[in-house]
């Protein structure tokens, strides 16, 4: 079964960038750096969507990966680090699970 190679070089480059970006995002273990790498990976996905003649998903992905994901991730990371710093500062006595009945 012979099929024509229908991949335009531009599309091949876009697919290659995305295939390269995904392991980079996963291999970045620090969440703060990973949020940044994820933003760049989102831009590479936008380029791929545009090259695949899909402007609407490209617009969605652009806004979401540029604004919404960084905010949500950075808020979570800031909170985790703030909590860790607070626990270290208050010492071992307060590092037990919080059961003050607030929930």
């Amino acid at each position: 079964m012979t099929v024509l190679a229908t991949l335009v070089p531009l599309q091949a480059v876009a697919f290659g960038l995305v295939a390269l970006g995904a392991p980079l995002v996963v291999l970045t273990r620090d969440p703060l750096r990973q949020a940044l790498v994820n933003g760049v990976y989102g831009v590479s996905l936008v380029c791929l969507f545009v090259v695949l003649e899909a402007p609407d998903p490209a617009l969605s992905m652009l806004v979401v990966s540029g604004i919404a994901y960084p905010l949500v991730l950075l808020a979570a990371i800031a909170r985790v680090r703030g909590e860790a710093r607070r626990r270290r500062r208050l010492g071992r006595a307060r590092s037990r699970p919080d059961r003050s009945g607030r929930r």
Binding site: L4, F15, A22, P23, V26, Q34, A76, I77, V80
Partner: protein, 114 residues
């Protein structure tokens, strides 16, 4: 060569899954989940692509011109926006677990008792 896009989608899915399984941090795990979600977008848009087709916007063009599949684009664009809220929910749960267990390591969560 013609199956490269699908191979890329499968590769991204496997990479994301490996990241989820080996993650030591719940926030890192959430981002690896988004990588897995992006593999579905790549697959959907690759399936719908027509060689030589244009974008399915017909302002100024005849409605019969060769265009790519609009259904997969509709699925992808709604999915992208909705996945933000789902990942936010996952992160909120992860931070709740962090508050209760004192750690964001998924392996450390197993010791939380009711």
């Amino acid at each position: 060569m013609s199956y490269l896009p699908y191979a890329v989608a499968a590769w991204i899915c496997l990479v994301g899954l490996a990241g989820v399984a080996t993650s030591r941090n719940l926030v890192h795990l959430a981002v690896c989940l988004t990588v897995m979600q992006s593999s579905t977008y790549v697959l959907l848009l690759s399936v719908g692509y027509v060689a030589g087709g244009r974008a399915p916007i017909f302002k100024g063009a005849k409605p019969g011109a060769k265009a790519v599949d609009p259904v997969v684009q509709a699925l992808t664009l709604t999915d992208v926006v909705v996945s933000v809220a789902v990942v936010a929910l996952i992160l909120a749960l992860a931070l709740d677990a962090h508050r209760l267990a004192g750690t964001v390591d998924p392996d450390g969560l197993a010791d939380v008792h009711g």
